[in-house]
């Protein structure tokens, strides 16, 4: 009896150790790709990230050197344009879902938002090409911004809804019981309480679309020079990386690596600020 129990105990210990080891392995497998991407990019690209990379335009074909200043600024402009569309519509949509909608309209809205979230990004490019590029007969920064903005809407809508639903009902009731109107309650009490969460959702959406290439291929199109007019084609970091990476020139490959590194570091910075924000929020709400 005692021996059997002892065996049992040992077997249980072995099983426990095995389970721990397996989950540790899984955890390592999750982290490994990030480490690989980061170190590979550092190894390949770090040498080419220099002052010229951030300040100069691409050199004409065949000349060594130059940089991606226009693409970096272009990505910034495209993200700003996308935010102009994605943030207000996404946030207001989330407010509708969390505060106003009834059960059946919400079911449909969420269903549509989830499908939109799953739409391949190239599809957005095609749709916006048809809607805007063909209509105005020109590739443009506007078209790129619209394509990215469309992608942001469902992302922001769902995160906004989620963080608004996390605001306890007691706060809404307390505000309404003070004779404060519904919309003021939503803006000044509910959204204020959830503001960090809403900003987090926006940043995550930005990080998600910052590296998108497909929606820009035939909307923003890319540009080897500064964009002087938003109605004209504009450079973007992912586009520039794409065209340099498939080029036959060694120097362009080098710059593509550098561009990829800069893009990843940018997205990494956004994610770290999200971490910072959410940590602070957790500390305040609970």
């Amino acid at each position: 009896m005692i021996a059997a129990r002892h065996d049992n105990h040992r077997w249980r210990k072995i099983k426990s150790a095995l389970a721990s080891a397996l989950s540790l392995l899984a955890a390592i497998l999750v982290i490994a790709p990030l480490g690989l991407v980061f170190f590979y990019l550092l190894q390949k690209g770090a040498g080419s990230v220099n002052w010229a990379f951030f300040t100069q335009l691409p050199k004409p074909v065949g000349e060594i050197g130059g940089g991606m200043a226009n693409a970096i600024v272009g990505t910034g402009e495209l993200l700003a344009l996308a935010s102009l569309i994605g943030v207000p519509i996404g946030v207001l949509g989330g407010v509708y879902l969390a505060e106003y909608g009834n059960a059946s309209s919400n079911w449909w809205l969420r269903f549509v938002a989830d499908i939109l979230n799953g739409v391949p990004s190239i599809t957005w490019g095609v749709v916006v090409y048809g809607l805007i590029v063909l209509t105005f007969k020109s590739f443009s920064a506007y078209a790129g911004g619209v394509a990215l903005g469309f992608m942001m809407i469902p992302l922001i809508m769902r995160t906004t809804e989620e963080v608004l639903l996390l605001v306890p009902n007691g706060y809404r009731e307390a505000s309404l019981a003070l004779g404060i109107s519904r919309w003021r309650t939503i803006i000044h009490i509910v959204m204020k309480t959830a503001s960090k969460g809403i900003v987090t959702g926006i940043l995550l959406a930005l990080a998600r679309i910052a590296g998108e290439t497909a929606p820009l291929l035939f909307t923003a199109f890319g540009n080897r020079f500064w964009n002087r007019n938003l109605a004209e084609p504009i450079a973007a970091l992912p586009l520039q990386i794409f065209s340099y990476a498939i080029s036959p020139y060694e120097d362009w490959h080098r710059q593509a690596w550098a561009g990829a590194l800069v893009l990843v570091v940018g997205i990494f910075v956004i994610n770290v600020s999200v971490r910072f924000l959410t940590r602070d929020r957790a500390a305040r709400v609970t």
């Binding site: 307390a174 505000s175 019981a177 004779g179 519904r182």
Partner: protein, 301 residues
């Protein structure tokens, strides 16, 4: 404003009215009634005759198919503390929320009957519930100061979001509300600290200060002490007794001792019906209804 907790124990002896209640022979075993008869205090000096604040006529409320309130008629007097007691699920909170239209936040609610607030129909078609709620404030079971706001901002939020900008008025209301909520001396040096940084009992008094800052005529309290410890409860009860000279107070409570301590009038609800309504002293010493007696003596509930 400087009443301490100890003053509860040394409350003045009961009025003649109450003494007579005590001498009346209650139909229940004395061992049980003695625990439940109101402790000697000044409660029984109920205002003699006042026009009712609320005149509720044949009120019924449904949540979907379920009827929560069944044909209740009751006159709630002004400048008086009215307690609503009864077992869980008897419709106390539902009834309370009807008095400032908070129940409308629950979808599929249907109301039948009439509530007159100082003679005006509270449910007049087209009237703004926010206007009713400005006159009829509410304090909730769980203290809920707004987490993004300081103590000061919490007290003033109702005024600010209703358009009051004058700094003098705001400052004056801030101090007055906190003094009335017996919180001023504890927080006057920490007004900029988050509303969530003070203790649970202080938070509940902050919520009371926030409710009275907009100068309502009525305070509805939904089990305001159920999340508080006995000392904080005593503090809030003391506050309720002080406030009743200025406000009409309706308090829902699970705690019968609390009802007997703080209220002038008591209504006993049971499964959506109003079983008995009368002076608190009478309800607790010589209830007319068998059900009331069973409930207050602890036979059920």
């Amino acid at each position: 404003m400087f009443l301490s907790v100890s003053s509860l124990a040394t409350a003045p002896p009961g009025s003649p009215n109450e003494m007579s209640n005590l001498t009346m022979s209650a139909p229940t075993p004395t061992s049980q009634t003695s625990a439940l008869t109101p402790a000697p205090n000044d409660n029984a000096v109920a205002p003699a005759v006042t026009a009712p604040a609320f005149d509720v006529r044949n009120l019924s409320i449904w949540y979907g198919e379920k009827q929560a309130i069944k044909n209740i008629s009751i006159e709630i007097p002004a400048k008086t503390v009215t307690a609503i007691i009864g077992p869980s699920g008897c419709g106390k909170s539902t009834f309370l929320r009807c008095l400032n239209r908070m129940h409308e936040l629950v979808p599929h609610t249907r109301v039948d009957g009439e509530i007159l607030f100082h003679g005006e129909n509270l449910y007049r078609p087209g009237s703004d519930p926010a206007m009713a709620r400005r006159r009829i404030g509410m304090v909730f079971q769980k203290s809920n100061p707004f987490p993004t706001m300081s103590i000061e901002e919490n007290v003033l939020v109702g005024l600010r979001l209703n358009g009051v900008r004058d700094r003098h008025i705001l400052n004056e209301r801030l101090e007055r509300s906190l003094r009335m909520a017996a919180l001023w001396d504890e927080v006057k040096n920490d007004l900029k600290k988050p509303g969530m940084s003070i203790s649970g009992g202080q938070q509940q008094r902050l919520c009371i200060a926030r409710a009275i800052a907009v100068e309502p005529e009525v305070l509805l309290m939904d089990e305001p002490c159920s999340a508080l410890d006995p000392i904080a409860t005593a503090r809030v009860e003391e506050l309720i007794r002080e406030l009743r000279t200025r406000y009409t107070i309706v308090i829902v409570t699970h705690n019968m001792q609390q009802a007997s301590r703080v209220s002038d009038k008591t209504a006993f609800f049971y499964v959506g019906e109003l079983i008995e309504f009368g002076d608190t002293a009478q309800i607790f010493s010589s209830p007319r209804e068998r059900k009331t007696e069973d409930y207050i003596t602890g036979r059920f509930g």
